[in-house]
């Protein structure tokens, strides 16, 4: 539809105004909720998780450092305890050794024990042997045993220092024992035996505190030979197992500070912060380890807690953000909907304001804007365009006879046809009534415009099916071009209108181009029309009466009334000069009434003057003949004047009859019923058969001049005239 075409030029104003809220995607502002909330969420989560992970890492590091430090500290303590215990043992052994060396093999042991110089007897059992290894005295009941085959005995044969044994298992109690010994010398320095003391190996790990070392810590004494004298983890105590001494004590040799290394201990595959320290001047090393898992458990739990909290907070944030996002999205949606409704409403209002409600085409005021816009654009870019002014022919009749609804339907259909027969860029508007106007941009060649006009004509010409019947309507088109025929809205519209009138005068269903001549004709016409409207009031019309003679008797048989206009400026005008205008404007109806009335009065006057009654004839134009009030008018005139109806003769042309035969016949018979005579004028100009004419019950037949002239020249036609004559008479 060109309604949309026209509308499209107007819509951009709205689009510009509303594009921001309508297209949120086009501007990605940070404040837009669908960006803002996720962005905040990401930032918050990033901060949260960074902090959490840093906290976890810091916590882990401090836990490791704590474990390392406490391992070192505990190892120090343990080392000191072991050293002290070994010294105590050595001291007690030395006391016995010296006692025996000074006491000449007297049984000193019981005495020393009573004095409290020995180690606690319920932990230690101390014995003395002779040079052959036979036990000669002991703090415990003993069997006669010989220890000559024991390694510590053999070692004491050669060296005078504290000797510690490998761990050995008591065959009776199954407990692991450690033995420490010292050599006893004879006065001359010869070997006199040894003093040795045995203690549960577990004694050396009795300081194991679960509170410090946990279930899986380790406390132990490892010989430089790689044999564990004793080792304890939790409640589990073992002796005699092998371990890689050099690997454990590798970096603790020398002057370096003790350090705790995270090692997976070979004996039980537990990862521990392990400290190994070789004892000074003794072939033993203390081993202390803190289980990594246990030491870091708190940190791991903390880590778990932090992670859970962070996850919880994340989820809460996610939910909150989700809710906010959803709410704001809904808000945005409802705003958008409201905005859309507002726009739709505005569009409707605008559409109503600028469009014809019946056809949906742009209305007069919108068209005026479009035209002005077109003019401005054409001016700016030196373009041309054409304006077509359309007026439906006979639309009034259709509206009157078929009703307004049918008329409206017809207008809608015409609007559709017009739109369909034009380009997309063309604009069709309805100015009101049956007037349409078409704007053809960038077109001014006569040939092109003619083609368009013809297209429109043929589109409108096709039959319409309305109110249950087929009917045809035609259109008259006036064309003018910019800038040739006008450069402003008023001039262009007026000139197109003038051209349209010219087309109508030229027989309708037609188009006409505007020209300056048309304009002047039109001006004349306008002047004439305005004076014609006033002529009746001013009494400028007058009738001339032409007598009609009876050919046979030579007497005056009647008179024909002829209308003249005494124009104040132009002088007396023949009816031909103004009747077409009167017919076109409809002024013929009151003028015609005046003519009939005046003629009737004249006929009466003649009778009053004593003249014999004469028939007076008056011409009826097409418009008069089809006027619905014709019969009424005639009968009322006859009544008021009191003229005998037989003295009035109404003349119509033959052509008029043939336009609408049935209706004409009906009108004529009604006129006859009034008693008024009827004359057919201009007979022979059309090709009506006499038998057809007979239906009209006319009284007079006026043969056209052309027919008479031909009769005179062609003898064969005389017969025709002769044939006509009896009918006419």
């Amino acid at each position: 539809m060109s309604g949309q075409v026209g509308g499209s030029k107007e819509q951009p104003q709205y689009k510009e105004k509303v594009s921001t809220p309508l297209k949120p995607g086009s501007q990605h502002k940070i404040t837009e909720p669908h960006i803002f909330y996720p962005a905040v969420l990401i930032v918050v989560l990033a901060i949260l998780w960074t902090m959490t992970l840093q906290l976890i890492e810091a916590n882990h590091l401090s836990a490791r450092e704590g474990a390392t430090n406490s391992a070192i500290e505990l190892a120090h303590t343990y080392e000191a305890q072991v050293v002290r215990v070994i010294r105590e043992i050595d001291q007690a052994l030395n006391v016995v050794k010296r006692g025996y060396e000074l006491g000449n093999n007297k049984p000193m042991l019981t005495l020393l024990d009573d004095w409290g110089l020995l180690l606690p007897s319920f932990l230690f059992s101390t014995s003395v042997t002779d040079a052959a290894g036979n036990v000669i005295n002991s703090t415990r009941a003993f069997e006669k045993v010989n220890v000559a085959d024991q390694s510590y005995f053999r070692e004491q044969l050669e060296f005078d220092h504290l000797v510690s044994s490998q761990p050995w298992q008591n065959s009776y109690t199954k407990t692991w024992k450690l033995t420490f010994s010292r050599r006893i010398d004879a006065p001359a320095g010869a070997f006199a035996g040894i003093v040795f003391t045995s203690v549960d190996a577990s004694y050396f790990v009795s300081g194991y505190e679960e509170a410090q070392l946990g279930q899986f810590g380790v406390l132990g004494i490892l010989g430089t030979d790689g044999v564990f004298r004793v080792r304890r983890s939790g409640e589990k105590i073992v002796s005699g197992e092998l371990a890689d001494y050099s690997q454990l004590t590798l970096e603790t040799d020398g002057l370096k500070n003790q350090e705790a290394r995270l090692l997976t201990n070979s004996w039980d595959q537990v990862a521990r912060y392990t400290v190994a320290t070789k004892l000074y001047d003794f072939p033993l090393a203390v081993i202390l380890g803190l289980s990594e898992e246990e030491q870091l458990q708190a940190s791991k739990q903390l880590r778990q807690l932090y992670l859970q909290r962070a996850t919880g907070i994340s989820i809460i944030f996610l939910i909150i953000t989700g809710i906010l996002f959803r709410l704001s999205w809904q808000l945005q949606q409802s705003r958008r909907r409201a905005m859309e409704e507002h726009i739709a409403h505005a569009k409707r209002v605008e559409h109503l304001a600028y469009h014809d409600s019946l056809t949906g085409l742009p209305n007069r005021s919108f068209f005026s804007r479009l035209l002005n816009h077109g003019i401005a654009e054409a001016q700016r870019y030196e373009r041309c365009f054409a304006l077509l002014f359309l007026d439906l022919d006979r639309f009034k009749i259709i509206n009157d006879t078929l009703g307004h609804n049918a008329g409206d339907e017809l207008l809608i259909e015409v609007a559709k046809r017009l739109s369909n027969s034009l380009r997309e860029t063309d604009t069709v508007a309805r100015l009101g009534g049956d007037e349409f106007v078409v704007l053809l941009p960038e077109m001014n060649e006569e040939k092109q415009l003619s083609a368009v006009a013809k297209k429109i004509l043929s589109a409108v010409e096709k039959p319409f099916h309305l109110a249950g019947q087929d009917l045809r309507i035609t259109v008259s088109i006036g064309i003018c071009a910019y800038p040739l025929d006008g450069e402003d809205e008023q001039t262009l519209l007026k000139n197109a209108d003038i051209a349209m009138y010219h087309a109508k005068e030229g027989g309708k269903n037609n188009f006409s181009f505007y020209s300056a001549k048309l304009n002047s004709d039109s001006l004349e016409r306008l002047a004439l029309e305005s004076s014609l409207r006033q002529a009746l009031e001013r009494g400028e019309f007058l009738l001339h009466y032409q007598d009609k003679y009876d050919l046979r008797s030579g007497e005056i048989a009647g008179a024909e009334a002829l209308l003249r206009w005494q124009h104040p400026d132009l002088g007396q005008m023949q009816s031909l000069q103004f009747l077409p205008l009167a017919e076109e404007t409809g002024l013929i109806i009151p003028i015609g009434r005046w003519v009939i009335e005046t003629a009737c009065k004249q006929a009466i006057r003649w009778v009053e003057q004593g003249l014999p009654p004469r028939c007076i004839s008056v011409n009826l134009t097409a418009r008069q003949f089809t006027d619905a009030h014709l019969l009424e008018d005639i009968s009322s005139i006859l009544q008021t004047t009191g003229l005998n109806p037989a003295q009035l003769e109404l003349e119509i042309t033959e052509g008029l009859l043939l336009r609408d035969f049935d209706r004409a016949l009906e009108t004529l018979s009604k006129i006859k019923e009034l008693g008024v005579r009827i004359a057919i004028d201009n007979f022979g100009a059309s090709f009506t058969s006499l038998s057809t004419l007979d239906n009209f019950h006319f009284d007079t037949l006026k043969i056209d001049g052309s027919v008479i002239r031909e009769i005179a020249t062609d003898p064969s036609d005389k017969q025709l005239t002769e044939a006509i004559n009896p009918v006419a008479i």
């Binding site: 305890q81 002290r84 215990v85 409290g116 606690p120 007897s121 319920f122 932990l123 549960d200 577990s202 004694y203 050396f204 009795s206 300081g207």
Partner: protein, 145 residues
Amino acid sequence: MSYKKYNKILTQLALLAICFAAPIVQSEVVVVVSASNPVSSLSKSQVAKIFLGKSYRFPDGSRAVPLNQGEGTFERDDFYQLVSNQSPAQVKAHWSKLIFTGRGRPPREATNSDAVKQLLAGNGVNIGYIDHTAVDDSVKIVTIK
């Protein structure tokens, strides 16, 4: 008849023996101090603390020096069971730890109840435990609350 009578007497003696045997098997260890010591009653935990090296004083502030009986004696085992509910192994482990870590020295030991009485009479130690059958005027039984 005389055989029967003899038999009957034997049976009566056996029953009597069983009657007396029960308290003997359930030997009763009592905590004692020297007769001159003013301490007359202590709680179980106060005694346990003194004998497990956790306390060196009586409630009145005077010094407490405990005297053990030898390892493996029933007096010793029963005593610790009574005051601290600990087995001999637990007591040994306890003392091992105290001695090893240098936080204490075990009480002196007496070989039997008579030795305990003798040592309590002298100086140095002032609290011990003996079988109740061994109690005489030289010592005073401490009431365990």
